[in-house]
Symmetry: C2
Subunit: 386 residues, 2 copies
């Protein structure tokens, strides 16, 4: 199997390092023959080219690994590779979430594989596990901690008593968070991962504009202490569930009982859970990002090109966003709150917390809109058990 | 793919139920054509036979699923099936742990598959995940909660304040524990699973007589409270690690910090962790036993017969038991204890607890032998993080 890597940043060099230096027998037949990088980097390695046509027209190349990130030119490069009858493996969640229907149709048309394990959960074998579970079971629910940066921030706030801005700055210094941290802390990254996971689990394309996404950005250390008093820990959760009328999904902070598994997933680790009819809950925990874990997931995809599992998504399931589950939410705001659907109002260290009556997510969205407070903090009182 | 099931108890009927009634596309080509059961059950289903030769001589049968348990006649039936050129899938940890080298050699010789996902971790895709991880990484460590019955007992003691005998009786009434619970609470079940997991992870056959195994049977509610005071939770852990000189392994109660993932794995759930050089820690959580989860793992193996992954064990790695890690242990005993290697001695609710200096496992074994107290409780003060 001859590979070309597009992009030679952290992830691309990780893939090259594993394939070139690791000793596992299954890697013996895998070889990186070309790398696409910027002209100024051409001298770093003799297989680097700055001309994508060199890769497209090289008939010996079986598989293109896209590690550039972003929508463009990743989209154009991926489609061109499959049209040139090359398998594609990518870690790029944004481009997969946006164009997955087109990519999978193109893969079928050109009889190549399109694999994206590294796009969701980093090194965790989550996409392959969803594919495997649905060989037997109907999957009814998936949720998890899908973003390591926000989990690192929450861990430091919870266990070291630090405040949001201080921890974010530290995360940026350590390279865990981008200069513009919005994708990680405003939920866009998790939205992409919920869309991708739902496609694999439910054979459906859900639209991230349809379901609620509440930012983590407004959390402060008094919020952390308020939930500590309730023996709860805040985690930033994405979830998607199928129900009788369609599906429901969200991205938002959850206040989890301290004795749940998720409440004890710390640092920048991820955890993802699926529910199947015979298997019950399965949880998968590991590094959700980082050079070698993400590169490992890409290499696993390369080794799975010959496997019968993977990309078994036919998008045959047309599901509308129809929230039906009633949950209790906590809202912290300084604005006036309509008390009709509020169960309790509590003052704590100078802040006001409203706990709702059980309500469906669409009612929550209306309520939060009516409060009209960009600094409000919204969390679900979640009851994951097992 | 035509299947014969040997044994039609809980697991066998679960496999039949999934294959016959579930709607997943991948199951469309799988059919149960014969079931081996006792003569008195022949009228339950028209495909039941009490003569194993009916199955061995039926050339249409591709795969034999062994769900009888126990060493004999399971051993004879498994070897006969492979000699008759039939794939074998089994949930039987005792027979796999004892005869795996012979079974795998026989599978290679007869060009059939021998798969045993359900033998370890029940429904958790643990064996397949170890196989997959080692396609890329060297695995250096594995550990977990591998027995659901003992975890159910510990959860009830910890979170409901019950005593051991009361919970064991309840577990037996609910069918979680056998009339003779020794395999579950004295560690033989976990020993088998550590041997099987080590074979898959490390390509080695380790001998369960070589490494220490301390029973859970001596635990009482004062022990639980003693560790609660230290913010620790007792879990029954099996572990196997490779080191520079060989390997070390054990089965014993661990006192885990309350804020670890494992400390919050409750009820009869299992969790298993592997460490790989690029992937870091990966954890897998789910139902470690039960009709449908175990049957699901068997059906996954049936679907994996065509996969390139599985049973890639060559036993080329000859590892001797050579403990090198220094750990701290806590021993509760009423007998005299040699204080040479004891750091602290503490009285708590009428019981005496000795905390050792850091020591290798062979020193612990000598110390526990010298105390000569069949009612002693021994736990490792473990520091799993991530």
């Amino acid at each position: 199997m001859k590979i070309a890597i597009l992009g030679f940043g952290t992830i691309g060099t990780g893939v090259y390092e594993i394939i070139s230096t690791y000793k596992a027998k299954s890697l013996a037949d895998v070889e990186v023959v070309k790398v696409l990088d910027l002209p100024q980097n051409k001298d770093k390695l003799d297989i680097i080219t700055d001309n994508y046509d060199d890769i497209l027209q090289d008939k010996s190349i079986d598989c293109v690994v896209e590690t550039m990130g972003g929508l463009h030119p990743a989209y154009e490069f991926i489609t061109a590779a499959m049209k040139a009858k090359k398998h594609v493996v990518t870690a790029n969640k944004a481009v997969v979430a946006k164009y997955m229907e087109e990519f999978i149709a193109l893969a079928l048309e050109n009889k190549v594989r399109f694999l994206f394990e590294a796009s969701t959960g980093g090194g965790i074998p989550w996409i392959a596990s969803l594919e495997k579970a649905k060989r037997v079971d109907d999957i009814s629910e998936l949720y998890g901690i899908f973003n390591g940066t926000s989990n690192y921030i929450l861990d430091a706030m919870t266990n070291q008593g630090k405040d949001f801005d201080e921890v974010l700055k530290k995360a940026q210094e350590l390279g865990y968070a981008e200069a513009d941290p919005s994708a990680d802390i405003d939920g866009y990254d998790v939205q992409n991962k919920v869309v991708i996971s739902s496609a694999v689990a439910y054979n459906t394309k859900i639209n991230m504009e349809d379901f609620p996404c509440y930012s983590l950005r407004t959390i402060n250390s008094i919020d952390i202490n308020y939930f500590k008093k309730l023996n709860r820990t805040i985690k930033y959760i994405g979830e998607a569930v199928v129900n009788h009328t369609g599906y429901e999904a969200y991205v938002m902070p959850n206040a989890l009982a301290n004795d749940t598994v998720e409440a004890n997933v710390n640092s920048n680790f991820n955890i993802a859970t699926l529910y199947g009819q015979s298997i019950g809950p399965l949880k998968f925990y590991g590094q959700g990002a980082g050079k070698l874990p993400t590169a490992n997931a890409i290499v696993q995809d390369i080794l799975d090109i010959q496997s019968p599992i993977g990309s078994l998504i036919d998008f045959s399931n047309k599901l509308a966003y129809q929230p039906t589950q009633e949950n209790v939410y906590v809202i912290r705001s300084t604005n006036t709150v309509d008390m009709t659907n509020i169960e309790t109002k509590e003052e704590f260290e100078g802040q006001t917390y409203y706990t709702t009556k059980p309500m469906v997510a669409s009612t929550l969205v209306e309520l939060v809109k009516s409060i009209d407070d960009s600094q409000a903090f919204v969390a679900k009182l979640a009851a994951f058990k097992g």
